[in-house]
């Protein structure tokens, strides 16, 4: 239930009750999932939205809002407190109860180097159009039909509130010149299923055979694994498959080695699998570059299996991936609503100015709102924008339970994200699609793959007749990351209607397509996002969106934080009477 300010005459609104099991500051996706999970587990939950923009940094915003949000949270402007932009009369450092100290809560910049290019202001920036855009702050990002996020939604979405659209197709752009084959950049559609392999026009017959055999090997591997766990499988079957087994040693080898040496896939197929299906970031066959991000076979085949399980999970979903209509923000919104349904209280646009700390022990007790009200809870979850103030102690948490990271990532790593609004699709007849530029396919110093996601008006990303394109890449070196994104933009779009025909040699569209004119950019932005990690300590914080295409880290982070806080409670208990029905009608995830 949204608590709205009441009793206008008596100054700032007061929140009742004042003590909770859990206070969540932030309405981003992980915060919202935790709030919903805790509320579902019967905890008393207060969710506070401290920011003028809902669900950030997982929000879907209009172009104007997006830019103001980025500026608000970027390095140049955000070295100050919330109180600076929201003037409230009663900022008190004094607490009503003298047994607490107040540690002021400060924020940190989340973004930097925000660039905006407006080519057609009338088409994008007109006020009447703003509500027709839903631009994701954390794009590109998709759901796999069989991933944990979708499972969670299927479990939780009783009323069938969410609706999704299938991603039509994906392409992997792979530079054959670089592999010494000649032929330049080719748009290869990503064949993720048996029939996609059959239909594919760019694979050779041999490649089709190899790929399908590999897929079969995977299925046999998973089948035998699942069988041996339930029953002692019959020996005859084992003998038949003995030649078709992935050994435990194989699982520990680098995936790229497994694909090229063991399965003997062609370089093209290896690239497609590595970068467009298992979504590797760094160039896998460059030992130097990917020291930190080598995809092991075990991980690789797990991701491939996720892809396979995703194809055909839902009737009506044509591919492996889904995208929520009205944008990513819908997901966070969905869980916020779930928290409210389960009895959680949420208050909006209410900055938190400080944390209440026990004077003697120094551990967390509660928060102080900008209105001066003090609220108490056992646990606190903070959005990544907040810096956990030093000086907190955690007597209740033993040191080995403290942990900070969910995914090991290089601290210097950042994500470069770009959003483009264009007047046309890359490919005729394709509305929503993914494009993967493999490392070094754009420029020689492109160390990581660049992921691109085009969305059309049919997911309400933009007014009809336009397309929204998200680009992202992980980078250690910001300059180089930006160069990759800009190279991709240059390869895909033109900035004016006329100037596009000179650059034929690098035009990826010349193969397999009839389109000769690149889509024209109407508006674009580029920004660098910090990869702030979440952690569990005296107070817990949630992570920023990672550089991946999926939501797995979000679900993972939410689950881990929940389990740390409530080790005895179930994360979204499934024993509710309606549960079975919903799973059977998995189609409740019907696309729009």
């Amino acid at each position: 239930m949204t608590y709205m300010a009441a009793e206008e005459d008596e100054g700032p609104p007061r929140i009742e009750p004042t003590s909770f099991d859990l206070i969540v500051v932030g309405t981003g996706l992980p915060e919202s999932i935790i709030a919903a999970a805790a509320a579902s587990a019967g905890k008393t939950v207060l969710q506070i939205n401290p920011d003028p923009y809902y669900h950030s940094p997982f929000a879907s915003l209009s172009p104007k809002d997006l830019i103001s949000f980025l500026h608000l949270h970027s390095a140049t402007t955000s070295d100050h407190d919330y109180t600076d932009f929201r003037t409230v009369d009663s900022p008190t450092d004094q607490t009503t109860d003298s047994s607490f100290n107040i540690l002021p809560l400060s924020t940190r910049p989340l973004y930097s180097s925000v660039e905006v290019h407006v080519y057609s202001p009338e088409k994008v920036l007109d006020d009447s159009l703003q509500k027709e855009f839903n631009l994701d702050l954390a794009g590109p990002r998709v759901l796999f039909c069989a991933d944990p996020m979708v499972d969670l939604i299927v479990d939780v979405d009783v009323q069938n509130c969410m609706s999704f659209m299938s991603v039509d197709t994906s392409y992997c752009i792979y530079d054959e010149c670089q592999k010494g084959k000649g032929g330049g950049l080719l748009w290869n559609s990503v064949p993720g299923s048996r029939n996609a392999i059959f239909r594919d026009r760019s694979l050779s017959l041999k490649e089709k055979n190899q790929l399908m055999r590999f897929f079969k090997l995977l299925q046999a591997h998973y089948h035998s694994n699942s069988k041996s766990s339930t029953t002692t499988s019959n020996e005859e079957d084992d003998e038949n498959n003995s030649s078709m087994k992935i050994t435990p040693e194989d699982l520990e080898t680098p995936f790229v080695e497994f694909l090229t040496c063991k399965i003997r896939l062609s370089p093209k197929l290896t690239s497609i699998i590595l970068y467009a299906i298992t979504m590797a970031d760094y160039e896998q066959d460059n030992v130097e570059a990917c020291k930190k991000d080598i995809v092991k076979t075990k991980v690789g085949i797990d991701r491939l299996m996720l892809y396979h399980k995703s194809v055909g999970r839902f009737r009506g979903a044509t591919g492996a991936m889904l995208y929520p209509i009205y944008g990513q923000g819908e997901l966070a919104h969905f869980f916020c609503r779930r928290a409210a349904i389960m009895g959680g209280i949420s208050i909006t646009q209410m900055p938190v100015v400080g944390l209440l700390v026990d004077k003697d022990v120094g551990n967390y007790k509660g928060v102080k709102l900008v209105t001066g009200q003090e609220l108490f809870s056992h646990h606190l979850i903070l959005a990544p924008t907040f810096v956990i103030p030093p000086g907190l102690t955690t007597p209740s948490v033993s040191p080995q339970d403290v942990y900070y990271d969910f995914v090991q990532q290089d601290a210097r790593e950042k994500v470069v994200r770009g959003i483009c609004i264009t007047d046309n699709s890359f490919k005729p007849d394709v509305a929503n699609c993914l494009v993967f530029y493999t490392p070094k396919s754009l420029c020689p110093d492109q160390m990581t793959s660049v992921r691109i996601f085009q969305l059309s008006s049919n997911v309400r990303a933009c007014p009809s007749g336009m397309f929204v394109v998200y680009l992202s890449t992980i980078c250690g070196d910001v300059v180089q990351g930006k160069r990759s994104i800009n190279a991709a933009k240059e390869a895909l779009f033109s900035t004016s209607v006329s100037g596009n025909s000179e650059d034929n040699s690098r035009d990826p569209l010349r193969e397999n397509t009839v389109v000769k004119v690149k889509p024209t950019l109407l508006w674009s932005t580029l920004y660098i996002q910090e990869l702030i990690m979440g952690g569990f300590d005296c107070v817990s914080s949630t992570p920023m969106p990672d550089g991946n295409l999926q939501y797995s880290h979000v679900v993972d982070a939410a689950l881990k934080l929940f389990q740390k806080m409530y080790p005895d409670d179930e994360f979204f208990p499934k024993k509710m009477p309606w549960w079975n029905e919903v799973v059977e009608n998995g189609a409740c995830l019907s696309e729009g």
Binding site: N195, F198, R199, L205, K206, N209, R213
Partner: protein
Amino acid sequence: MHGRPRKAPTEEEQEASVVKGAKLRSIQAKFFQFHHTNTYTKEALEVNAKLLEMNPEFITGWNYRKLAVQYHLEAAQSDEDSIKSILDEELKVVESALMTNFKSYGAWHHRKWVLNMGHSSTDRELFLLKKFQKLDARNFHAWNYRRFVTALKNIPDEEELQYTTDMIYENFSNYSAWHNRSVLLSRLLKEEVEGYYPKEKVLTEEFEFVRNALFTDPDDQSGWFYHLWLLDQTVKLEHLLVSSWPPNGSNVNVSDYCALSPSLSSISRTLPLILCFSEAVGGINSSTVSVVCESNMDSNLTWTPISVDKSGFARTWLTYLTFSSEPMHPSRNYLVKVSIANSEGIISSAGFCCSNPSHMAFTVCLPSSNTEFDEGPDIERIDWSEENFSSNQLHSENLGLINSFNELTISGGNKKTYETNAKIIADEIAYCRELLSEMDCKIGKLTLARLLLAYDALSSASRGVQDQNMFQYKEILELYHDLMKLDPPHFQYYKDQYSLVFLKQELANEESLLKYCYQYRDSTSLSNNSLCLCLRGLSLSQIGCIEQLLWVQMLDLSNNGIRSIEGLESLQLLCCLNLSNNKICSFSALEPLRLLKSLKVLDISHNEIGAHPIDTRRYLCASPLSHASDWKREEFVVSGPEMTIYWDAFSIFSGLNLRQLSVTGNPIADKKFKLFLCKLLPAMKWLDDEKLR
């Protein structure tokens, strides 16, 4: 719909089915009451509709509905509205029945029956089909019905072909879609519809299309089925005539063959003429085949198809040339010219017309007087033991007779087409090898063997001669050899194919053929030619290449693994046949012998006849009884109680005039059986080792 294991019903389900059964019985009782009283009231029809919805398989229910519809239509006379409402109701009933079971034959049939009346709109039908094909894309009922509806709606074949493409793109593991594709393409190719001509272009495209399926998942059979169909379309040879006896260019001494005349009368100027075709043909008569002789010859020829069935189609056709009068010059050779397919009328069993005339000629030497053929009492028993055969000292005249057809050039067929098709096959061979280099694949190996064989046939046809040597025969044999090991359940099939290819190689070539020819020691016991073709101990499982063997009179097939002698009926000159030590397991497997009217000596000892209480062949092949119209009923009765046990032996031997028969070493060959044979074959002189009279 496919590959789903059936679960044992739970207790609740069992209970539910008991309840359903009781309900069904009560409705059924009501229905029968209406049915028996010819009641077609609204109530009666409703009961019937309910019954059919519960159990769409109830054929009587559908028949009743047809009667009711006819009754009401009569009453409605020609009022369009009421006719339409009657029929619409039927369509509704069918729909709800199909919802219960969309594989109900009765329901689909009823729908066709209603639509055939022509009063209903067909618009809904495609929509309905879409729904059913979404449920199960391979459901052949729906595909069948689709063909019916598209014919009714005159939807062009091209459109339907696109539909099969779409369905295959959705999931290529769809036998029905591939099958419909072959049906549609056959029509489009036959009618040479624009875009589907020339045939070679279409075939190339189709091979490419299906190749994607084969490479993507070689374990899926549906694509291979279509591939096999395509292969068949590509190797179709237009020339039908393969060989003849007497062979083209040979010289025949008529008196040598007088014993082969249909009746053992004194007519000694009779000569059999045998034509052998590449497939079963019909329409051979004196107008489609002309035979002209310098000497006086009865030109009114009667052609007989040599076939176990009565279809009128056969691979081999036989007639007897009768030279009626005394020759003017006894020592002279007279030319006989044969022209085949002069006029249209020869049709293959596949409906293919033979329009390419072939010509051949041979010379005959007529005896100066009627030399009586006499089977003297001094005729000796034929002894098949090896020492009685010596490697041949062939006379040159014999050689000409053996060389059945190699000289005859094939005039028919478009050589250019064969050349193009041979190229298509060559491409397929290359792709097949590529696939096999990637993985071991049984069906791939089998297909490669078939492709290689097809390539040989096409490339020799394109050169206009029947080839003496097969290029890749060693490889083909190796492939079948591998397959026998790789795929034991289909061992026998591979073995049969192996035998055919082996024989084709060994017998098509004059040089190697001669290696198998032996001279029987004592030519006096044989009417004339004592040359024996000895294919002993080659582990053959069936015989083939019969067109090269029309000349054979003495054939030794002993010590092989022969189970079937299919095709042997073509050897119309055959006198002596040794089938001992083989795997023949029933008399019905010997059915071709019935057509060998010249057969005098037969050895079927040491086989497995009678070993198996049930003759499974009878279920696979047409029963001899179904073709037994030439049996005389009296004979049947006279032969007494043994007939019920030995009727199949009777069906084989009763028409033969055997002089010598060996049956020992078969489980059936006991004393009783031998007695039966003596009764059945009064002219028999030797049974096993015993001299009878």
